[in-house]
Protein backbone atom coordinates (compact mmCIF):
# COMPACT_ATOMS: atom_id res chain seq x y z
CA UNK A 1 0.00 0.00 0.00
CA UNK A 2 1.41 3.40 -0.92
CA UNK A 3 2.46 5.80 1.76
CA UNK A 4 -0.32 8.23 2.63
CA UNK A 5 0.52 11.84 1.97
CA UNK A 6 -1.08 15.20 2.33
CA UNK A 7 -1.56 17.36 -0.71
CA UNK A 8 0.76 20.20 -1.57
CA UNK A 9 -2.02 22.62 -0.77
CA UNK A 10 -1.87 21.37 2.80
CA UNK A 11 -5.44 20.19 2.78
CA UNK A 12 -6.01 16.94 4.66
CA UNK A 13 -8.53 14.45 3.30
CA UNK A 14 -10.71 12.31 5.51
CA UNK A 15 -8.59 9.28 4.67
CA UNK A 16 -5.34 11.08 5.43
CA UNK A 17 -6.73 12.26 8.75
CA UNK A 18 -7.73 8.64 9.49
CA UNK A 19 -4.19 7.46 8.76
CA UNK A 20 -2.76 10.18 10.97
CA UNK A 21 -5.11 9.27 13.81
CA UNK A 22 -5.08 5.48 13.59
CA UNK A 23 -1.59 4.64 12.35
CA UNK A 24 -0.33 2.51 9.46
CA UNK A 25 -3.10 -0.10 9.76
CA UNK A 26 -5.61 2.57 8.83
CA UNK A 27 -4.73 2.12 5.14
CA UNK A 28 -6.19 -1.39 4.73
CA UNK A 29 -9.07 -0.52 7.03
CA UNK A 30 -9.93 2.58 4.99
CA UNK A 31 -10.02 0.36 1.90
CA UNK A 32 -12.26 -2.16 3.71
CA UNK A 33 -14.60 0.53 5.09
CA UNK A 34 -15.08 2.32 1.79
CA UNK A 35 -15.47 -0.92 -0.19
CA UNK A 36 -18.02 -2.18 2.36
CA UNK A 37 -19.79 1.19 2.30
CA UNK A 38 -20.04 0.97 -1.49
CA UNK A 39 -21.31 -2.61 -1.26
CA UNK A 40 -23.89 -1.72 1.36
CA UNK A 41 -25.39 0.80 -1.08
CA UNK A 42 -26.40 -2.15 -3.26
CA UNK A 43 -28.17 -3.69 -0.28
CA UNK A 44 -29.78 -0.34 0.50
CA UNK A 45 -31.06 0.02 -3.06
CA UNK A 46 -33.23 -3.08 -2.84
CA UNK A 47 -34.42 -2.69 0.74
CA UNK A 48 -37.60 -0.91 1.75
CA UNK A 49 -36.34 1.80 4.12
CA UNK A 50 -38.67 4.50 5.29
CA UNK A 51 -36.29 7.02 6.80
CA UNK A 52 -32.71 8.10 6.29
CA UNK A 53 -31.84 6.92 9.81
CA UNK A 54 -33.16 3.44 8.99
CA UNK A 55 -31.05 3.47 5.82
CA UNK A 56 -28.01 4.71 7.73
CA UNK A 57 -28.52 1.92 10.28
CA UNK A 58 -28.57 -0.68 7.49
CA UNK A 59 -25.41 0.77 5.93
CA UNK A 60 -23.70 0.86 9.34
CA UNK A 61 -24.63 -2.77 10.04
CA UNK A 62 -23.37 -3.98 6.66
CA UNK A 63 -20.15 -1.98 6.91
CA UNK A 64 -19.41 -3.14 10.46
CA UNK A 65 -20.02 -6.75 9.54
CA UNK A 66 -17.71 -6.41 6.55
CA UNK A 67 -14.99 -4.80 8.68
CA UNK A 68 -15.22 -7.70 11.14
CA UNK A 69 -15.31 -10.51 8.55
CA UNK A 70 -13.12 -9.26 5.72
CA UNK A 71 -9.67 -9.85 7.22
CA UNK A 72 -10.61 -13.43 8.17
CA UNK A 73 -12.00 -14.22 4.73
CA UNK A 74 -8.96 -12.61 3.08
CA UNK A 75 -6.63 -14.69 5.25
CA UNK A 76 -8.55 -17.82 4.25
CA UNK A 77 -8.33 -16.89 0.56
CA UNK A 78 -4.60 -16.30 0.97
CA UNK A 79 -4.01 -19.67 2.62
CA UNK A 80 -6.36 -21.68 0.40
CA UNK A 81 -5.89 -20.05 -3.00
CA UNK A 82 -2.75 -17.96 -2.63
CA UNK A 83 -4.54 -14.65 -3.26
CA UNK A 84 -2.64 -11.81 -1.59
CA UNK A 85 -4.76 -10.38 1.27
CA UNK A 86 -4.12 -6.86 -0.01
CA UNK A 87 -5.66 -7.77 -3.36
CA UNK A 88 -8.71 -9.57 -2.01
CA UNK A 89 -9.69 -7.16 0.78
CA UNK A 90 -11.63 -4.67 -1.32
CA UNK A 91 -13.65 -7.25 -3.36
CA UNK A 92 -14.41 -9.30 -0.24
CA UNK A 93 -15.56 -6.23 1.71
CA UNK A 94 -17.66 -5.12 -1.27
CA UNK A 95 -19.29 -8.56 -1.52
CA UNK A 96 -19.99 -8.81 2.22
CA UNK A 97 -21.40 -5.28 2.27
CA UNK A 98 -23.53 -6.00 -0.80
CA UNK A 99 -25.06 -9.06 0.85
CA UNK A 100 -26.82 -6.79 3.32
CA UNK A 101 -29.81 -8.61 4.77
CA UNK A 102 -29.42 -11.47 2.33
CA UNK A 103 -27.55 -13.84 4.63
CA UNK A 104 -30.46 -16.30 4.89
CA UNK A 105 -29.80 -17.94 1.47
CA UNK A 106 -26.08 -18.10 2.29
CA UNK A 107 -26.72 -19.89 5.58
CA UNK A 108 -29.27 -22.24 4.00
CA UNK A 109 -26.78 -23.05 1.21
CA UNK A 110 -24.11 -23.71 3.83
CA UNK A 111 -26.42 -25.93 5.88
CA UNK A 112 -27.45 -27.79 2.68
CA UNK A 113 -23.77 -28.33 1.90
CA UNK A 114 -23.05 -29.64 5.40
CA UNK A 115 -26.10 -31.93 5.26
CA UNK A 116 -25.02 -33.26 1.86
CA UNK A 117 -21.49 -33.87 3.14
CA UNK A 118 -22.81 -35.66 6.24
CA UNK A 119 -25.09 -37.85 4.11
CA UNK A 120 -22.20 -38.72 1.80
CA UNK A 121 -19.95 -39.62 4.74
CA UNK A 122 -22.71 -41.72 6.31
CA UNK A 123 -23.26 -43.56 3.03
CA UNK A 124 -19.52 -44.18 2.72
CA UNK A 125 -19.36 -45.52 6.28
CA UNK A 126 -22.36 -47.82 5.66
CA UNK A 127 -20.71 -49.05 2.45
CA UNK A 128 -17.50 -49.84 4.33
CA UNK A 129 -19.48 -51.70 7.01
CA UNK A 130 -21.33 -53.74 4.36
CA UNK A 131 -18.05 -54.67 2.67
CA UNK A 132 -16.61 -55.86 6.00
CA UNK A 133 -19.62 -58.13 6.61
Amino acid sequence: MPEPITSTAGSASLAVVAVALLGPLAGPYVVIVFAALAGSLRALSSTQTITRSAGAWLVLRCTTLAVVLTSGVSEYLASAYGVAPGDSMAPVALAIGALGNGWKPVFSALSDGVAMLAARLLKKAEGAEGAEK
Binding site: M1, P2, E3, P4, I5, S7, T8, A9, S11, A12, S13, L14, A15, V16, V19, G27, V30, V31, F34, A35, L37, A38, L41, R42, L44, S45, S46, T47, Q48, T49, T51, R52, A54, G55, A56, V59
Partner: protein, 92 residues
Amino acid sequence: MTLIHEILCVAMLWGAFCRLVRCNHMTRAGIRFAFFLIGFAACAGIAQPLRAGWEPSVFELSLLIGVVTMQLVTAPRWRDGVPAKFQAGGQP
Protein backbone atom coordinates in the same frame (compact mmCIF):
# COMPACT_ATOMS: atom_id res chain seq x y z
CA MET B 1 -7.98 20.92 -4.91
CA THR B 2 -7.96 17.72 -2.81
CA LEU B 3 -10.30 19.26 -0.24
CA ILE B 4 -12.71 20.35 -2.98
CA HIS B 5 -12.53 16.84 -4.43
CA GLU B 6 -13.33 15.30 -1.02
CA ILE B 7 -16.25 17.66 -0.40
CA LEU B 8 -17.70 16.91 -3.84
CA CYS B 9 -17.28 13.14 -3.32
CA VAL B 10 -19.03 13.30 0.06
CA ALA B 11 -21.84 15.36 -1.51
CA MET B 12 -22.14 12.81 -4.31
CA LEU B 13 -22.25 9.95 -1.80
CA TRP B 14 -24.91 11.75 0.23
CA GLY B 15 -26.99 12.37 -2.89
CA ALA B 16 -26.77 8.71 -3.91
CA PHE B 17 -27.56 7.58 -0.34
CA CYS B 18 -30.65 9.78 -0.09
CA ARG B 19 -32.00 8.40 -3.37
CA LEU B 20 -31.15 4.79 -2.55
CA VAL B 21 -32.99 5.12 0.78
CA ARG B 22 -36.12 5.93 -1.23
CA CYS B 23 -35.56 3.04 -3.66
CA ASN B 24 -36.98 -0.41 -3.07
CA HIS B 25 -37.30 -3.69 -4.96
CA MET B 26 -40.04 -2.12 -7.12
CA THR B 27 -37.68 0.56 -8.46
CA ARG B 28 -36.33 -0.10 -11.94
CA ALA B 29 -33.09 -2.11 -11.72
CA GLY B 30 -31.26 0.29 -14.03
CA ILE B 31 -32.03 3.26 -11.79
CA ARG B 32 -30.88 1.40 -8.67
CA PHE B 33 -27.71 0.25 -10.42
CA ALA B 34 -26.95 3.78 -11.62
CA PHE B 35 -27.17 5.22 -8.11
CA PHE B 36 -25.17 2.30 -6.73
CA LEU B 37 -22.44 3.10 -9.27
CA ILE B 38 -22.53 6.78 -8.28
CA GLY B 39 -22.15 5.78 -4.61
CA PHE B 40 -19.37 3.35 -5.50
CA ALA B 41 -17.50 6.03 -7.44
CA ALA B 42 -17.95 8.47 -4.55
CA CYS B 43 -16.52 5.95 -2.05
CA ALA B 44 -13.57 5.26 -4.34
CA GLY B 45 -13.08 9.00 -4.77
CA ILE B 46 -13.04 9.65 -1.04
CA ALA B 47 -10.29 7.03 -0.61
CA GLN B 48 -8.23 8.22 -3.61
CA PRO B 49 -6.00 10.68 -1.69
CA LEU B 50 -4.47 7.65 0.08
CA ARG B 51 -2.48 7.02 -3.11
CA ALA B 52 0.93 8.66 -3.01
CA GLY B 53 1.24 11.75 -5.13
CA TRP B 54 -2.38 11.73 -6.22
CA GLU B 55 -3.94 15.08 -7.07
CA PRO B 56 -7.37 15.55 -8.65
CA SER B 57 -7.29 16.95 -12.17
CA VAL B 58 -9.51 19.74 -13.43
CA PHE B 59 -11.32 17.19 -15.61
CA GLU B 60 -12.14 14.98 -12.59
CA LEU B 61 -13.33 17.98 -10.61
CA SER B 62 -15.53 19.18 -13.46
CA LEU B 63 -17.08 15.71 -13.74
CA LEU B 64 -17.77 15.70 -10.00
CA ILE B 65 -19.26 19.20 -10.15
CA GLY B 66 -21.49 18.04 -13.02
CA VAL B 67 -22.77 14.99 -11.15
CA VAL B 68 -23.35 16.89 -7.89
CA THR B 69 -25.14 19.70 -9.75
CA MET B 70 -27.34 17.16 -11.51
CA GLN B 71 -28.18 15.60 -8.16
CA LEU B 72 -29.01 18.99 -6.64
CA VAL B 73 -31.19 20.00 -9.59
CA THR B 74 -33.15 16.73 -9.60
CA ALA B 75 -33.46 16.53 -5.78
CA PRO B 76 -36.96 18.16 -5.65
CA ARG B 77 -38.31 15.37 -7.89
CA TRP B 78 -37.32 12.85 -5.22
CA ARG B 79 -38.92 14.73 -2.33
CA ASP B 80 -42.04 12.54 -2.34
CA GLY B 81 -40.18 9.32 -2.99
CA VAL B 82 -39.02 7.63 -6.17
CA PRO B 83 -40.48 9.38 -9.23
CA ALA B 84 -43.30 7.27 -10.68
CA LYS B 85 -41.49 6.81 -13.99
CA PHE B 86 -38.63 5.10 -12.18
CA GLN B 87 -40.88 2.54 -10.52
CA ALA B 88 -41.67 -0.80 -12.17
CA GLY B 89 -44.97 -0.47 -14.00
CA GLY B 90 -44.54 3.28 -14.39
CA GLN B 91 -44.31 4.99 -17.79
CA PRO B 92 -40.76 4.62 -19.17
